[in-house]
């Protein structure tokens, strides 16, 4: 094993040391760099592509045949909630109660859709 002459302690593998030094320098250089407009545009496109693929992976996990429920009666306390409160409540349920729903961002859904979703989730038979 190579020894450090200055400290007389065993040194690590030179290849590993070199990789670590390169890594440290490259990571710092990346943090210091200022992206160009082209970099930002490219990153945005790649991010959108990666998210689309992620959505496809999520869809694969969903059951193919889900019974569509109609005629859900929305209770007054949910009816009274505004959009922000509905989204907050749904997000909390997703995080803490492991509730799953297909619309990850909850965008594109009307307030009525959100109230219906929350009602179905909170119904004992809907879980």
């Amino acid at each position: 094993m190579t020894r450090d002459r200055n400290h007389d302690r065993p040194m690590r593998d030179p290849i590993e040391i070199w990789e670590d030094l390169l890594h440290d320098a490259a990571e710092q250089a990346a943090e210091d760099s200022v992206p160009t407009e082209d970099d930002t545009r490219w990153a945005r496109e790649v991010h959108a592509m990666v998210m689309a693929r992620l959505a496809a992976l999520r869809r694969q996990r969903a059951p193919l045949h889900v019974p569509v429920r109609r005629g859900v009666t929305i209770p007054p306390e949910i009816q009274a909630m505004d959009r922000g409160a509905l989204v907050t409540q749904l997000e909390r349920l997703r995080r803490e109660a492991n509730v799953r729903y297909a619309h990850q961002d909850l965008t594109g859904l009307t307030d009525h859709d959100l109230r219906t979703l929350l009602t179905v989730i909170l119904e004992p038979s809907g879980r």
Binding site: D4, T40, N98
Partner: protein, 219 residues
């Protein structure tokens, strides 16, 4: 959270890669546009090699990052979602770089076939001798080259005690946290040291590994 320096593991793509809900949520949370930008810059610095500035053309680093992300989503690169995604992508970039460098090394002879030691012009002869020096250096093993590079780095850092102490600590300690503990560097001081380290690496007179351009350009 597990340590972030574990190797990204490349495996056979599973026919039906079905990551867990937690995996998907973590990937979604961590894979930001910023992560994409940072890892491209990281790949660009590694691709620059030693003793040179970063290339302006980012096609190669972008391709490497895109491939690492796609391979992770396909399950070819196995990512443990309890570890940072950025470290996983960086490991994948390092691994790809190693493969490219090994390929380039095998093709070293092709790089110098245009040179002639019988060149009679002073510049031509000087160029041929320089390239022959480099060729001799390429005959060293990767471990010998790494040792040479570290030795030169330490010599160049002789007037910078903080950087020298950092390099020495890196030679003995495996993790950055241990090195910071030993050197007593604050996060801000560390960033400054890492910047000076990057500058010194650009000034090294030797190539620890051959340039990727001497091999195939596609990852």
């Amino acid at each position: 959270m597990k340590r972030d320096d574990e190797e990204s593991e490349e495996v056979q793509a599973p026919p039906h890669f079905a990551p867990s809900e937690e995996w998907l949520a973590e990937f979604r949370r961590q894979c930001t546009e910023t992560l994409v930008l940072l890892t491209v810059q990281y790949a660009n610095t590694l691709d620059a090699g030693i003793g040179s500035e970063q290339p302006q053309d980012k096609r190669y680093p972008r391709t490497v990052v895109l491939r690492a992300l796609a391979d992770t989503q396909l399950g070819i690169l196995r990512w443990d979602h309890t570890t940072p995604l950025k470290a996983h992508i960086e490991k994948a970039i390092q691994k790809r770089s190693r493969i490219e460098w090994k390929r380039a090394r095998k093709r070293a002879r092709q790089r110098y076939r245009h040179l002639s030691i019988d060149d009679t012009t002073p510049s031509g002869r000087s160029l041929a001798l320089d390239e022959l020096d480099q060729m001799m250096f390429e005959r060293l093993t990767e471990r010998e080259r790494a040792s040479e590079a570290i030795a030169e780095l330490r010599a160049r850092a002789a007037d910078d005690p903080e950087l020298r102490a950092y390099i020495d600590a890196r030679c003995r300690k495996g993790s950055r946290a241990e090195v910071l503990r030993q050197t007593g560097l604050s996060p801000e001081r560390y960033r400054q040291v890492a910047r000076r380290l990057g500058q010194l690496i650009k000034q090294l007179s030797i190539e620890v590994r051959p340039r990727r351009g001497s091999g195939e350009d596609t990852p």
